[in-house]
């Protein structure tokens, strides 16, 4: 059976593009989140849209479960294909069109996020969602995770930038979500698809909105002697109504990791926390906003605020932030990367709570996050080969998640549920809500073959016990 499938897949994409040997498949055991290792049974790498269509239709015909994969930078284990077929899309990397007049582009799913912005930069445009992984992750992966990034505070997340998608459903049917030729109406299936983590179908192409580059940019680095005063500065800026393009926080352990790495950005190593704040837009009125933000920081207790002197200085400040996860990776053998959101007024309290949880378990928590959105990333470097330390990390993470839920927050702001957050879904959503999610998935994928066993814990759904038609 497997042999037959392998050779039929090879007939579509060529023999070299189907991997079946365990040694070849090892690379695809994990995504960006270390800690989970599940090898696929086969991996197939189409190069063209037609090949993807033929592959998906063959998988439908043979009722084979599969998992789509972009660059594999996901941080929730979403792209792992445990014993099923892995469908790699990174070879579909063509920018199909760039339409300056309508400020949009059409891209294949494997286009790397930063490559789109690089291609549109000479035209004075960019693709706004900018995950820190943007030099590696794909637009198809971004759509599936509804990816965010530092600048999503002002510009919005992937959802707000996708005009239309062409999708092949798990059953093999090709549909267009959204309306590329005007206004859309009716049930927002495009919105429902974005962030569906590969469970609703495979993205064949994406029509995205491009944004004008701002006339002027000011990047500020504010230096605080306590995490609490940095958090209070964030709350003050948000409440003032000034919409920063980005508002990011890093605490002392993160600063130390960055400054000890090749990404050293000149952050003050004696600070308890720093804020990286960017304001952009028309030049008129910008300096006034900069002055107000500076004052909010100083009033909250900042020791100093420095403004990037030029583009190179600004790039260096950002490089430290965007490569912070990588820098932490050097600190120890393993790193758990967390993702949760709290209401922004709760930031001071939740950061204090996370600090307490870390101390109680003898762990170092590195906080580097999108403070303006209340989107936390408390990360813990540790040694996964030490069972006692691993157990502590696991417990600490559970406590952090519970604290965020108790604060009125959520368990993921941008990395998705995947495998990693499954255990928390039932704490956040009612059984009826989880059932509704299962129901929606079943409409797109009646056989539940597309990225099986991810996102919604199946045992929490009533559908699992009774098919929709059998319900009273």
């Amino acid at each position: 059976m497997s042999l037959a499938l392998e050779s039929r897949l090879a007939a579509i994409v060529g023999e070299k593009r189907v991997l079946a040997r365990p040694s070849e498949l090892r690379v695809y055991e994990s995504d960006g989140l270390p800690g989970y290792h599940h090898a696929p049974r086969l991996a197939v790498f189409p190069a063209t849209r037609d090949e993807v269509i033929d592959v998906v239709r063959l998988l439908a015909e043979t009722k084979t479960p599969y998992v789509a994969r972009g660059a594999g930078t996901g941080l929730s284990g979403g792209a792992l294909a445990n014993g099923v077929v892995l469908l790699g899309l990174h070879r579909l990397k063509r920018i199909i069109s760039i339409d300056v007049e309508n400020c949009r582009a059409v891209v294949e799913p494997g286009v790397v996020n930063a490559n789109l912005t690089a291609a549109t930069a000479p035209l004075g445009l960019h693709y706004a969602p900018d995950p820190s992984s943007q030099t590696a992750c794909t637009i198809g992966g971004n759509v599936s995770e509804n990816a965010g990034g530092p600048h999503c505070l002002k510009y919005g997340v992937t959802l707000n930038h996708v005009i239309a998608l062409t999708v092949i459903l798990p059953g093999g049917e090709i549909i267009t979500l959204g309306n590329p030729d005007g206004e859309d109406d009716g049930i927002d299936l495009l919105g429902a698809f974005i962030g569906s983590e590969g469970c609703f179908g495979v993205v064949l192409d994406v029509t995205v909105r491009l944004v004008k580059n701002p006339q002027a940019i000011r990047t500020l680095l504010a230096d605080f002697a306590s995490v609490d005063s940095a958090a209070r500065a964030v709350s003050a800026i948000i409440a003032s109504g000034i919409v920063a393009a980005a508002l990011e926080m890093m605490d002392a352990p993160t600063i130390h990791a960055v400054e000890a790495s090749i990404y050293a950005a000149g952050y003050p190593t004696d600070a308890a926390a720093i804020l990286l704040i960017e304001l952009d837009g028309p030049l008129a009125g910008l300096e006034e906003d900069v002055a107000r933000v500076e004052k909010f920081c100083l009033d909250a207790g900042a020791r100093g605020v420095r403004i990037a002197t030029d583009a190179a200085d600004r790039a260096r400040l950002w490089q430290g932030r965007k490569k912070a996860f990588g820098a932490m990776g050097r600190v120890s053998s393993h790193l758990v990367v967390q993702d949760a959101v709290v209401p922004r007024t709760k930031l001071p309290a939740i950061l204090a709570e996370i600090g307490r949880i870390g101390v109680a378990r003898g762990l170092t928590v590195c906080n580097v996050f999108h403070a303006g959105d209340g989107n936390l990333h408390p990360n813990i470097p540790y040694n996964a080969n030490d069972p006692v330390e691993s157990a502590h990390v696991h417990e600490a993470m559970r406590e952090v998640m519970e604290a965020c839920i108790a604060a009125g927050g959520t368990i993921t702001g941008e990395h998705g549920v995947g495998l990693d957050k499954l255990p928390y879904m039932a704490s956040l959503f009612t059984p009826s809500t989880l059932t509704a999610m299962c129901t929606l998935r079943t409409v797109f994928d009646p056989e539940q073959r597309s990225n099986p066993s991810k996102v919604v814990p199946i045992h929490s759904c009533r559908e699992w016990h009774a098919a929709p038609s059998a319900r009273p």
């Binding site: 007049e101 919105g191 469970c199 993921t412």
Partner: protein
């Protein structure tokens, strides 16, 4: 007006009796004319549930009218940046359910861009709580987007959480003798400024709103005072301008008379001049008015009440050329504003899964 538990019981009861329900907000849209085959009505309750100004997040019961939302947010110098056409007795629930938007969509987007969470009751009586109260959230499949714009067909909205914003320090509205919609579109595309709203008005609409006998641009500029001053200077390049009181926007929102025929046409934004020309030709022929939301490439047409022999044919021609979306139409014209799409089967599947016996606003989205 009922609580979620009561609504759940009412829906379950209606389902047991196979009695279709017409879901309503403030009832201001009942005359939208969308054919809906239901005799009993059900409406959501009202009231603010939570409002934390420091978080810029507001949760209300779905039947809460805009006037009430404005009252509570105003007290904190904040606003909900949704301004759907119609009167302020309209409810947030109806706005979200219908995906309705107004001029502020130029800068802030439509309901799907504002809603952070919602509660709805499915046609099976299940109470679903989707999304949350935070501004960023990807936990699970996006049932919030599913409910937004679904016209109640996946569930009766009972509670909604939206992001609100601080009001701009200055908020200034200008009427500009801009000449052509094409010139305005070029300006919007090239300018460093992003107006809060920019509506191009047909001459017959400009007359009552701005006093001008020519087509005019109504533009709303917001921000701190140096920014607004610079934007005003920049906009002056489009033509003579005059400051208008902000209530011109509510006049525009309420311009249509009862029974008017209202629809929107759109294409890719760069085709706005063509869409405008076609829409204007038709509107003027029937003695109506039109306005274009320039940055979104959408033209909204308002025709006086009354059916005519030529209108169906002309609308059919228009919809063959561009996207036609009905807002308020006589029942006979709805089929013209319903286009076939590759997602029709999927949409039907969603409706059937969430409302297995078709009791929620049956027929309201047409046959597709």
């Amino acid at each position: 007006m009922s609580s979620s538990a009561e609504i759940s019981a009412l829906i379950a009861d209606a389902r047991a009796r196979r009695m279709p329900l017409r879901l309503t907000g403030g009832g201001t849209w009942l005359d939208a004319g969308r054919p809906c085959d239901a005799s009993e009505t059900l409406s959501a309750d009202t009231g603010v549930v939570t409002y934390e100004p420091g978080d810029l997040v507001l949760t209300v019961r779905a039947g809460t009218p805009f006037s009430e939302i404005q009252r509570v947010t105003n007290a904190n110098d904040q606003w909900l940046t949704l301004d759907p056409f119609g009167v302020t007795t309209g409810t947030l629930g109806a706005t979200v359910a219908t995906g309705s938007w107004g001029p502020l969509a130029s800068a802030f987007g439509v309901p799907r861009d504002h809603v952070l969470g919602c509660e709805f009751v499915t046609g099976a009586g299940d109470i679903v709580r989707a999304g949350g109260q935070v501004v960023k959230n990807v936990a699970g499949f996006d049932l919030v987007r599913l409910a937004t714009g679904s016209w109640g067909t996946v569930g009766m909205l009972t509670e909604i959480t939206v992001r609100v914003r601080a009001k701009p320090e200055e908020d200034c509205t200008l009427a500009i003798a801009a000449g052509s919609v094409g010139a305005v579109a070029d300006w919007v595309r090239a300018s460093v400024h992003t107006p809060l709203a920019a509506e191009f008005l047909s001459p017959a609409l400009a007359q009552p709103l701005t006093g001008s006998a020519d087509a005019s641009l109504l533009v709303r500029l917001g921000g701190n005072s140096p920014l607004v001053a610079a934007a005003r200077n920049a906009a002056a390049a489009l033509g003579d301008s005059r400051v208008l009181p902000a209530n011109v926007w509510s006049k525009l929102a309420g311009i249509e008379q009862p029974g008017a025929i209202v629809f929107r046409v759109s294409a890719m934004p760069a085709r706005i001049a063509h869409v405008w020309a076609r829409a204007l030709e038709l509107t003027e022929m029937f003695g109506g008015v039109a306005h274009a939301t320039v940055s979104r490439g959408v033209v909204r047409c308002i025709l006086p009440p009354g059916e005519s022999k030529e209108l169906p044919q002309m609308l059919a021609a228009l919809s063959a050329e561009m996207t036609l979306i009905g807002e308020r139409l006589p029942a006979s014209l709805w089929p013209l504003a319903t286009r076939a799409r590759s997602t029709d089967t999927l949409a039907r599947g969603v409706r059937h899964a969430f409302d297995p016996d078709s009791i929620l606003n049956p027929g309201i989205l047409g046959n597709t």
